[in-house]
Symmetry: C2
Subunit: 253 residues, 2 copies
DNA sequence: AGAGTGTACCGTACATTGTACGGCTCAGGT
DNA sequence: ACCTGAGCCGTACAATGTACGGTACACTCT
């Protein structure tokens, strides 16, 4: 990152913005809400690194520094973008109402989170340990905990189980996003890329050899036409995790 | 990111560097190996964003542009750092020799990967979908697959199972790294930070309320003195995942 | 109606980044 | 003794976030 060190977002200021109404328009119609929406649109296309305050301002047809009247800096802006992105995650349906009990609910949660992460890959680049206290994130947490309540788990176990599923979804989604971005940047699909470096690779590692890695890597490559298939990783991992959670829950039930 | 767009690393060039010997010293003693080592040292302390070519050059007491004689650019440099960081992961012991069968082996793998990620948190910021073909990474893959061979799993399943464990470790380690970095940047522990924003938060969300989120969040906070405990998340998730994998493997055995 | 005031807006400037470009300086071969 | 090529590096440039200080408008009070 260049320029001034992008000073860490002020927590109190972020909170006030997060929970504020965002709707008092300035004299040129500029709104926190409009800034955040524009930034999300741009980040969806170009990613968080490529997102600049100048770009956001241009898109809104205002001077760059006008943004700073409404938003303290880029850090706080990304905090707002993050909360906003989860705005209508469960607007139409909530996990606890899905069929299939807690298992169906967690599958629904995984799928919905996956969808958000696919639509907004820049979320992976937002530092989120403490800032995750906006209204939408808090509501999300509340709703996602519901199907886990009353199963005999302790409160800490409920949180751990949910976090496990969400971490898995995030990890596989991140790998998928990286794959897509690499393909886009290089203009090569995984297949084309492999064909291109394959000769160099075999030449260079001629004297060493890795029988297992070779066998398994080839099998994976042929099965998915790629080194990794994020969708498959998602369902394989989710099934395994839910099987594991079932043992825990049955032990309590 | 500033400056020229940090052009995506050239795959063939990266491969040649990755598998090269790195040991021909230039006339000022400069070596690819030395550059990579210096960069890792700096990144361990300051992170990948704060790592600049100028810093690396200063540390080595050479001009900034001299680095470009040995390394095409920052992208390729991080590729080299990545492979290097996994250099002696299993130098002293390998997973397949651990007690506890495949389960003990996977626990060992998880622990060792966790250790590397803790020592080099910048690894989380290296884009690694395609570049992961250096000698150390390839050997790592070979060694980590061994304990999963001969259990009745298909090749694709072996890869999926390993990837599931590694993704979990990476996800929790990343959360832990973010937590640490945030604490360092702000100079506040999670507890101090919470005490500081708590009044603002309750004031701001006074009219809405989230009974489950409140109850569970409080329980977690009291149990771990923090919003999340990475070490606990690691073992909870690992246990669950291994329980799930056991069902898969027993079905095959 | 006129004056005053605060806030929205924004032009300019600066430090910092990766790296392109072109010149300098040596080691080694002839 | 000279040439050649590779290692080395000083300078320059475009892009970034944002500090600073100025301008212009909407409002309130007289």
């Amino acid at each position: 990152m260049a320029g001034r060190k992008a000073a860490a977002p002020d927590p109190a200021r972020s909170l006030a913005l997060l929970w504020g109404s965002h709707t008092k328009p300035g004299r040129s119609g500029l709104t926190v809400r409009a800034i955040v929406d524009a930034a999300i649109d741009l980040a969806d296309v170009s990613g968080l690194d490529a997102l600049s305050m100048r770009m956001v301002a241009d898109r809104l047809k205002v001077g760059t520094m006008s943004l700073y009247t409404h938003v303290p800096g880029k850090g706080e802006l990304t905090d707002l973008m993050f909360d906003q992105a989860y705005g209508d995650l469960y607007a139409d349906a909530e996990p606890a109402d899905q069929p299939g009990g807690w298992r169906g609910a967690l599958e629904f949660i995984a799928r919905r989170n996956w969808d958000v992460l696919s639509a907004h890959p820049w979320i992976h680049d937002v530092p989120t340990v403490r800032t995750a206290l906006g209204p939408n994130i808090t509501r999300k947490y509340e709703i996602e905990l519901r199907p886990l309540d009353g199963l005999g788990l302790t409160d800490v176990e409920m949180d751990s189980a949910l976090a496990l599923v969400l971490t898995h979804v995030q990890g596989t989604a991140r790998a998928g996003a990286e794959q897509l971005r690499t393909q886009r940047d290089s203009g090569l699909t995984d297949q084309e890329w492999w064909r291109q470096i394959s000769p160099t690779l075999t030449a260079v590692m001629s004297n060493t050899h890795f029988p297992l890695a070779g066998r398994v890597g080839t099998a994976v490559g042929e099965h998915f036409q790629s080194a990794l298939d994020p969708a498959h990783a998602l369902t394989f991992g989710l099934t395994t995790i839910l099987d594991g959670l079932a043992q825990l829950i049955e032990g309590r039930g």
